[in-house]
């Protein structure tokens, strides 16, 4: 690590102390937890002028609570800790999260945190795509208290979020889904340790007759500066029965919602073709998961 501009590493023990440090250092402060993306930021020259690293892992933000409203995840809960939660291991509804958490190697899962992964606003990450498909909300802590920001409003662009300079992410809330809900996530990468070329997450809620009541389809991994909702596909799915033919149409419709980028990982045309196929597969996986859940009741 070069990080030559960094002069201080703080390990505050309370929220107030973090807010005071943010007030003092402003744009030259960076909130860190596991630290696993600091290299990524450094390599992209995004740490220019950062003087203070503020490690928020002593704030007791590593707690998880679950009730009928949903799942509250503290910002510093690690991927490994998330994988051990009963809700994430077993429910069809949180399947997308379960799939996405399997992607990074164990050395990353043991340190990377849900809050850091979302706050980084990196379009190639897996969890943001999955969390957005589940309707996740960022809890931001500022001097005036806490506010909630939906993920779509939170991601402002490439490595940019809509937090104010004096705010930090204290948690992520994932609302509980109705009965007969299921989700799935699929990623294409060049090797087991690489960022995504394309990733797709889908969340479906079916009614008693098996028709789609609600669909949320999100495509990420470098198809745009942020993960994006595939609105045309979602509209196509609502009210319809789940068939292979419909999945193919939904896959094709995803392409009209995207304007992928070309980079060293893949061309725009390749990303578009991949998004189509991954959408079909993610839909199939989500429906299979629901069938399985219902068979076991």
């Amino acid at each position: 690590m070069s990080l030559t501009s960094v002069k201080e590493y703080f390990t505050p023990g309370g929220k107030q102390e973090v807010l005071e440090l943010l007030e003092k250092y402003g744009d030259s402060a960076l909130i860190v937890a596991g630290g696993s993306f600091v290299h990524g930021l450094d390599a992209r020259d995004l740490l220019f002028g950062i003087e203070a690293l503020i490690d928020i892992r002593n704030l007791a933000l590593n707690e998880v609570s679950s009730d009928s409203a949903g799942l509250s995840l503290g910002a510093t809960v690690t991927f490994s800790e998330l994988q051990q939660l009963n809700e994430i291991q077993s429910s069809a509804a949180f399947g997308a999260l379960r799939d996405a958490l399997k992607c990074p190697p164990v050395q990353i899962r043991n340190v990377a945190t849900i809050g850091g992964n979302i706050a980084a606003a990196c379009p190639y990450f897996d969890l943001p795509t999955a969390v957005m498909s589940l309707g996740g909300v960022v809890q931001a802590q500022g001097p005036a208290g806490s506010r909630e920001i939906g993920l779509q409003e939170f991601f402002a662009g490439l490595f940019q979020n809509t937090l104010e300079t004096n705010e930090f992410v204290s948690g992520i809330f994932i609302p509980a889904l109705p009965a007969r809900s299921s989700s799935a996530f699929i990623k294409l990468e060049t090797n087991a340790n690489d960022l995504a070329i394309v990733n797709v997450a889908v969340q479906l809620t079916l009614d008693e007759s098996g028709s789609c009541q609600e669909a949320r389809l999100v495509v990420g991994g470098g198809v745009a500066e942020t993960p994006v909702r595939a609105i045309a596909s979602e509209n196509l799915l609502r009210g319809r029965k789940m068939t292979d033919e419909l999945f193919k149409q939904a896959g094709a419709a995803v392409q009209s919602d995207l304007e992928p980028i070309s980079d060293h990982r893949a061309s725009a045309a390749y990303r578009s073709a991949t998004a189509k196929v991954l959408t079909e597969r993610a839909l199939r996986r989500a429906v299979a998961r629901l069938d399985q859940a219902q068979a076991s009741i």
Partner: protein
């Protein structure tokens, strides 16, 4: 500004002053001469620098030394007890799971945490477990076999 941290390294309590941007990997190799832990990509992509932090496998190049106060680190040097090698180390030797050797220490540290959780893994589980460790020589076959052999002991 340098920060004073106290941490346990391979069973010994150490106090040291670290720069705010120094990584655990840097202090392991420079300050303690624990050179079994290798510097590869220095950006969390190769796995050569894998050590255990509080019993969990991590890339030491990504861990800020300043964050380690009151934590516990185990490196490859801390795996054997005296002259008695860890079963994983023995299996790697017996199965010739080493070619140039650069990835070996990280590979063993990753496998060590994995085997603590899975005592009878199949080949697919082993391959998934070492996905964060690159080897450019062996083609992985012997590494996977060595981990399987160690698991069966």
């Amino acid at each position: 500004m340098k920060k004073l941290v106290t941490l346990e390294i391979n069973g010994k309590l150490q106090e040291l002053a670290v720069e705010p941007s120094e990584s655990l990997l840097q202090i392991l190799r420079k300050q303690w001469n624990l050179i079994g832990t290798k510097r590869g990509c220095d950006s969390g992509g190769c796995g050569c620098c894998t050590v255990h932090l509080d019993g969990k496998a991590v890339y030491s190049c990504m861990v800020f030394a300043s964050s380690l106060d009151k934590h516990k680190v185990t490196t490859i040097e801390g795996l054997s007890s005296g002259n008695e090698l860890d079963p994983l180390q023995t299996a790697f030797i017996e199965e010739d799971a080493v070619q140039c050797g650069y990835c070996t220490c990280g590979m063993i540290m990753t496998a060590k945490e994995f085997l603590a959780k899975e005592d009878r893994p199949d080949e697919e589980q082993i391959r998934h477990a070492i996905a964060g460790n690159l080897c450019r020589c062996t083609g992985y076959q012997k590494i996977v076999k060595a981990i399987k052999v160690a698991a069966n002991r």
